[in-house]
């Protein structure tokens, strides 16, 4: 299974990454090399095996329903653009 140009572009779109026209062929070659390595998994017999989601199998810890957080004065400390106590981004037309 090797990756096509349209798949590269679709994947880049999903990841919000730009792949320029000049770079695209190089990218396809690189990704295909990685896919070659990954494709070796296809030949492994994994019948009846449960996938590993997390290696630990203890109970999911639960938290009491209490307000212990929020009201952070410094929530905007690293914000590139904050306005009227909001995070500001380029306007979205829905």
């Amino acid at each position: 299974m090797s990756i096509t140009k349209s798949e590269v572009l679709a994947t880049a779109r999903l990841a919000r990454l730009r792949v320029s026209e000049e770079k695209i062929d190089g990218y396809i070659a690189e990704l295909n090399k990685i896919l070659d390595v990954i494709n070796s998994l296809q030949s492994v017999n994994t019948e009846g095996l449960a996938p590993v989601i997390n290696i630990n199998e203890f109970a999911l810890p639960l938290r009491k329903d209490e307000v212990t957080d929020g009201n952070l004065d410094d929530i905007f400390a690293n914000a590139p653009n904050a306005l009227y106590k909001h995070f500001a981004v380029p306007k979205v037309i829905e």
Partner: protein, 482 residues
């Protein structure tokens, strides 16, 4: 069957709903920030909600409990093992770049909700699943010429997503279903069902087909924030789709938004640019495994729910199914009614609450718990009717005052002198007077004009200011006129 008329014949509407119900927790699903409505922007945001680097989710036990309660409340299967998955997409109100939801293994499986329709029919709506997920923040696009502003207060609040089977067949049915669901959620206390505040939102999936044919392409109308808008949006979509199909076109599967001002829907996403959410189990969270004892313990704490109450009202209290339905639908109303019915005649109580009290509350825009007429006061009023102190008509007058002032019925009756007169000699005196004053009418009545009976009753009431016991008046008049 509810069918819609088109140019080429009758159409069946197929509707499925997705309801997002905010869990009534104090803190968020995976963080300890508060969930209060209307707080200062970005004041209820933890580092986790803002998706700062290195932050990790920790699950709120109350939210798990409420999801289980809700599942039990709709007789659904509780999945003892469920998994949290990440739904990946980019949007400014989604700091993590993914929403933590449950895609593959939700906490609640299939269930069913029975819905009573206004025309007396009952229908069943299947529930496919309920799962827990994070809410997103809020974006405002109209506060600045070139910027959108993001408030993350809502981000991370726990939602229960309740998905129905496409079992609904009309917009009215959808409305009744939502009322029933909201009632159940409020009964359980797992969600306050306040659509105006946004703690309950609905997406409607609508398609049309000629009866008997396979399902048509559906369109999803998102984020409907009132039952009225759900109904309007469904109606609009139905008409829109029917027109397209009758003109020979086909329906494209699209996501739409409803414009409440114009009553129309518009497309925001087509199938082509639909997102690939790349769901995968969240590696920061282990699977949620519930013990059967935990579920049993919750089951034991469930309140009596609308359907049980309705049955009990009909079978034990003798109410009509309709009244029983109305009184059991809302928890506050049911509590009120049951308190009154404990000490006063249930049928009278039912009547007075659904006809008189509701009318006044609706006009004043009040909820039942805001009524100055408390259950005890209601009991007081009904007692006065039961012991003939007041006629129905007089009672209405008294009630009018009670609703405004919150006074007890007997206080008002005493002060206004509204006691119904039952003293037979007093009644006889008035009747004798009327008969004496209207000899020609008496003659006409006695010669066969039965309709004149009403005239005499009216005269008696006029003179007495309506204070005479109507039954007694009737009996004595009849005797004296014969």
């Amino acid at each position: 069957m509810d069918l819609v008329d088109g140019k080429t014949g009758k159409w069946e509407v197929v509707i499925g709903l997705e309801i997002h119900a905010q869990v009534s927790s104090k803190s968020k699903l995976f963080s300890g920030a508060a969930t209060n409505f209307g707080a200062e922007p970005n004041s209820q945001v933890s580092l986790i909600d803002a998706a700062m680097p290195g932050m990790l989710p920790v699950l709120n036990e109350y939210c798990v409990e409420q999801a289980v309660r809700t599942g039990l409340g709709i007789n659904a299967q509780i999945n003892l093992t469920s998994v949290f998955d990440r739904k990946n997409y980019f949007y400014a109100d989604l700091p993590q770049g993914y929403q933590i939801s449950q895609f593959y293994y939700p906490i609640v499986g299939t269930g069913v909700i029975e819905v009573d329709l206004p025309d007396g029919r009952a229908t069943k709506v299947g529930i496919t699943r309920i799962h827990l997920e994070q809410d997103a923040g809020k974006s405002m696009h109209d506060q600045h010429p070139s910027l959108s502003l993001i408030d993350l207060n809502r981000c991370g609040i726990a939602l229960m997503e309740i998905v129905t089977e496409p079992d609904i067949r009309s917009s009215i049915e959808a409305g009744e279903f939502l009322k029933k669901l909201r009632g159940i959620l409020r009964y359980l206390g797992s969600c306050d069902g306040d659509m105006e505040k946004g703690s309950m939102r609905c997406d409607a999936n609508v398609s049309v087909r000629k009866p008997g044919e396979p399902l048509g392409s559906r369109c999803e109308v998102k984020n409907l924030n009132s039952i009225r808008n759900v109904i309007r949006a469904i109606d609009y979509e139905t008409q829109r789709q029917i027109k397209i199909l009758e003109d020979g076109g086909k329906i494209d599967q699209e996501t739409k938004l409803f414009n409440a001002a114009t009553g129309t829907t518009r497309t925001i996403r087509t199938k082509e640019n639909a997102n690939d959410y790349r769901y995968f189990p969240d590696p920061d969270l282990l699977p949620l495994k519930l013990k059967p004892e935990y579920v049993e313990k919750i089951k034991a704490t469930l309140p009596e729910l609308p359907d049980s109450k309705k049955k009990r009202y009909v079978e034990q209290l003798g109410l009509t199914p309709y009244d029983a339905s109305v009184l059991s639908a809302d928890k506050d109303v049911a509590v009120f009614f049951e308190q009154v019915a404990q000490k006063a005649d249930p049928k009278l109580s039912a009547n007075w609450i659904t006809a008189e009290l509701f009318a006044k509350l609706n006009k004043a825009g009040l909820e039942i718990y805001q009524s100055k007429v408390t259950p005890d006061k209601m009991i007081g009023l009904i007692r006065l009717m039961e012991n003939n102190t007041l006629s129905g008509k007089l009672a209405k007058q008294v009630f009018e005052i009670m609703f405004e002032t919150g006074e007890d019925a007997d206080v008002i009756v005493e002060r206004e002198g509204l006691k119904q007169v039952t003293d037979l000699s007093a009644i006889e005196a008035v009747i004798d007077q009327v008969i004496k004053d209207n000899p020609s009418h008496v003659t006409e009545y006695r010669s066969g004009k039965d309709k004149l009976f009403g005239f005499f009753v009216g005269q008696v009431m006029k003179i007495s200011g309506g204070k005479l016991n109507p039954q007694a008046v009737n009996d004595i008049l009849k005797k004296k006129l014969s």
